[in-house]
């Protein structure tokens, strides 16, 4: 049992920071690959049905983390709901479009690539790459690259979410919090109580 608890704890303690670094590195690399001005990962918060800035590289990096907007409007919302990537260039300075886009990007870009972050049948969020160099023509090979890259970002985001769920469970917030508390109690208990507790757990396991 102590092994289990240690394993869970090891998986969670510091995991948030590590995965956050992984996500930051991911958006930095996305920005570098496409020589873009900025890149960001937006995480879907299913409880509030909103998209939240989880990692940002380049323009807007300072102030965007944590910002939220509705999950099914604008370009990011379309990409999330339809699971289809989208690349926009030569965005005209139209007020309505600019306002809507700025909400999901932090500033008004001339060009925007957005791709869903998919893990199996779940959509975790959206990866955006803003303002590739305007002198280069976009190709379908880049579109494929964007899709492949999004897969990697999706795995990083999935790990971050798993770590958060595990931490919530350990801290007793999730529905399996009781299990984590029992594991912690057993860890600290004396030999006799621990043996009795494990016996009870074994009986519970057989019952279930």
């Amino acid at each position: 049992m102590s092994d289990l608890n240690a394993a869970v704890a090891a998986g969670v303690v510091g995991a948030e920071d590590a995965y956050r670094s992984l996500l930051s590195a991911t958006v930095e690399v996305a920005r570098a690959i496409f020589r873009a001005k900025a890149s960001s990962v937006l995480l879907l918060d299913e409880e509030t049905d909103e998209l939240v800035f989880e990692a940002v590289a380049g323009a807007g990096a300072g102030e965007l983390i944590g910002r939220r907007f509705p999950s099914s409007t604008g370009v990011a919302g379309w990409v999330l709901v339809t699971r289809q990537p989208l690349v926009l260039d030569d965005v005209a300075a139209d007020t309505r479009f600019s306002q809507g886009t700025a909400e999901s990007t932090g500033y008004v870009p001339k060009g925007l690539m957005a791709v869903p972050l998919l893990v199996e049948e779940r959509v975790l969020g959206v990866l955006e790459v803003l303002d590739r160099p305007s002198d280069t023509r976009f190709t379908l090979a880049e579109m494929d690259l964007l899709g492949l890259f999004a897969n990697q970002a999706a795995v990083a985001l999935d790990l971050l979410q798993r770590a958060r769920r595990a931490r919530a469970a350990l801290e007793g917030e999730g529905e399996l919090g009781a299990l984590a508390r029992i594991a912690a109690t057993l860890e600290g208990a004396d030999e006799e109580r621990r043996a009795a507790g494990l016996e009870l757990l074994a009986a519970l396991e057989r019952l279930l």
């Binding site: 879907l44 299913e46 049905d49 509705p70 999950s71 099914s72 409007t73 604008g74 370009v75 919302g77 379309w78 999330l80 709901v81 339809t82 699971r83 289809q84 990537p85 989208l86 690349v87 926009l88 260039d89 030569d90 965005v91 005209a92 139209d94 007020t95 309505r96 479009f97 809507g100 791709v115 869903p116 998919l118 199996e120 049948e121 779940r122 959509v123 023509r137 976009f138 190709t139 379908l140 579109m143 494929d144 899709g147 492949l148 999004a150 897969n151």
Partner: protein, 278 residues
Amino acid sequence: MSVLAHESDEELPAWSLPAASGESIRLPATWPERVTREWAFGGSTGAGVRVCVLDSGVELDHPHVGIVQRSVAVTRDGDAISVADDDAGDLCGHGTACAGIIRSLAPDCELTSVRVLGEGYTGSAAVMLGGLKWAIEEGFQVVNMSLSTTKKQYAEQLHDLADTAYFKRTMLVASAHNMPVESFPWRFASVVSVGSHEETDPFAYYDNPSPPGEFCARGLAVDVAWLGGGTVNCTGNSFATPHVAGICALVLSKHPELTPFQLKSVLHLTANNVGGDR
């Protein structure tokens, strides 16, 4: 139900054709020896064909879209899905882009917008399904679906809807996914699925010999209608799809008797790599 039910109004027990009754279901055979684009849609403007754009809505009065016959929105209240007239326009720009592409190929077709975006992510697959069901019940000849779902729980219902559409003569034109994931409905054989090529000719389309992505059409750097009456330069399979939807409208305007099976055959025979462009 039987093969003769619509002819004789008699309910026959199975999918059987009684002896010597083949003549009673004779179908018109008007196909030419060689199906060319001239035969398929030469001179066609898409007039009389009802096309549905299942998307983010369509901006009203956009100069590249023109008249939108009807706009509805699909909404969700718990498990209840409803469809009602809508004046919210387009919540993203994408639906307007698709409508504009279809209009540019088939200038006289009738366009209807079914907005399936805006109800939040959580119920989005159910809303999409509700919109598709409505479009099939309404009997549109062509439905443009630049969208997909990865949720397996909806795959079977979507499959049933796609088959229903196929037999009710509604051609579903769906975007192929260009990411390595399993998604629907574009994989189903009863729809026409579309990916992108890099050419600039809006009438260039290819039959892909390695399906499930069946056809490729223009999807790179396309100038499309967007919000606020403007245009944006866009790339993605979701822009290739309305090119094929527009061509379907042209063909059906000239040959309204074609079933989805026959229409797909026409697309094959007139594809660039089958020699149809010559």
